[in-house]
């Protein structure tokens, strides 16, 4: 696909599905189509790998812990609410 550039419709069509491909939400035929495509398309292969890494990084973020003072505030709210 590289020789035809990324304005090519089929290339863009696959580009639209990359997230679903990563999430395992595509049927076997579509997966195979993408696999074959990225083998010969450096741009899409690059995009797929950087997108995968982006998702992995975002999913690995630490949780923002609740401040202890807020936890106490919630407890007081519950005491009032459930009394």
């Amino acid at each position: 696909m590289t020789e035809q550039g990324h304005s090519h419709k089929s290339c863009i069509k696959l580009f639209e599905k990359l997230s679903e491909y990563i999430d395992g939400e595509l049927d076997d035929a579509s997966c195979e189509q993408i696999r074959r495509h990225v083998e010969s398309c450096l741009e899409c292969d690059n995009c797929l790998k950087t997108l995968k890494k982006t998702i992995t990084i975002c999913k690995s973020l630490r949780q923002n812990c609740m401040p202890a003072s807020f936890s106490q505030k919630i407890d007081k709210m519950l005491q009032r609410l459930c009394a």
Partner: protein, 205 residues
């Protein structure tokens, strides 16, 4: 095998439903169990979406107060967690005026179409090949936080629910009252947007 092991495990959903039934039957003190179970993920969600600790705290508090008030109207048509997050999002919308929200706009797929090979300097960037534990720093965490906050709201909500809180596409659609296919479209664009933010960061590193 012990007797306990032979008993079927109660799912999280069944356990939550049982608690809701008990609370609605008069055991209001059991609401504590539901709060303790979900306060941390709700706070994390609120902080990612609102960007300020104070707003996240208000959102959590409002969500639990509303949930308690309307618990007898919970029809078990979704999981309790989905229902609670839906309430939290409504609370978030109320906070919208107080926060510096990114302007509402559409993210176009055209903006993210990869460049032609001639314009790609060295193929795959180095950060895409580095192990994850070498990448996760406080500075990168801040870049992601700001990137998420700069996403237009409808993309931000989908991104945080799916890729940070770990909801499925179906559940995200139910929480936001949009179709699953709409979730997928928004998620893909939000991810491409975040990829650009990471690329900018690592290229200037």
């Amino acid at each position: 095998m012990t007797k306990e092991k032979n008993q079927p495990q109660m799912t999280i959903q069944e356990n939550d439903f049982k608690l809701v039934d008990a609370i609605n039957a008069g055991h209001s003190e059991l609401f504590y169990n539901l709060v303790k179970k979900y306060e941390q993920p709700l706070f994390n969600f609120g902080f990612r979406v609102c960007g300020e600790i104070r707003d996240a705290e208000e959102m959590v508090q409002d969500a639990f107060l509303n949930a308690y008030e309307h618990l007898d109207g919970f029809r078990k048509e979704s999981t309790f967690k989905n229902w609670l997050f839906r309430i939290a999002i409504n609370a978030c919308m109320k906070k919208k005026r107080k926060t510096k929200s990114a302007p509402e706009r559409e993210l176009s797929l055209d903006d993210f179409i990869p460049e032609d090979m001639d314009n790609i300097p060295d193929g795959l960037p180095e950060w895409a090949t580095r192990p994850i534990d070498q990448l996760l720093t406080d500075e990168l965490g801040e870049i992601i936080k700001q990137g998420v906050l700069s996403l237009p709201e409808k993309y931000r909500l989908v991104f945080v629910l799916r890729d940070i809180e770990g909801f499925s596409s179906d559940d995200t659609g139910k929480i936001l009252n949009i179709s699953t296919s709409n979730v997928k479209v928004r998620l893909h664009r939000a991810r491409l947007y975040m990829r650009e933010k990471l690329k900018e960061y690592f290229e200037n590193d």
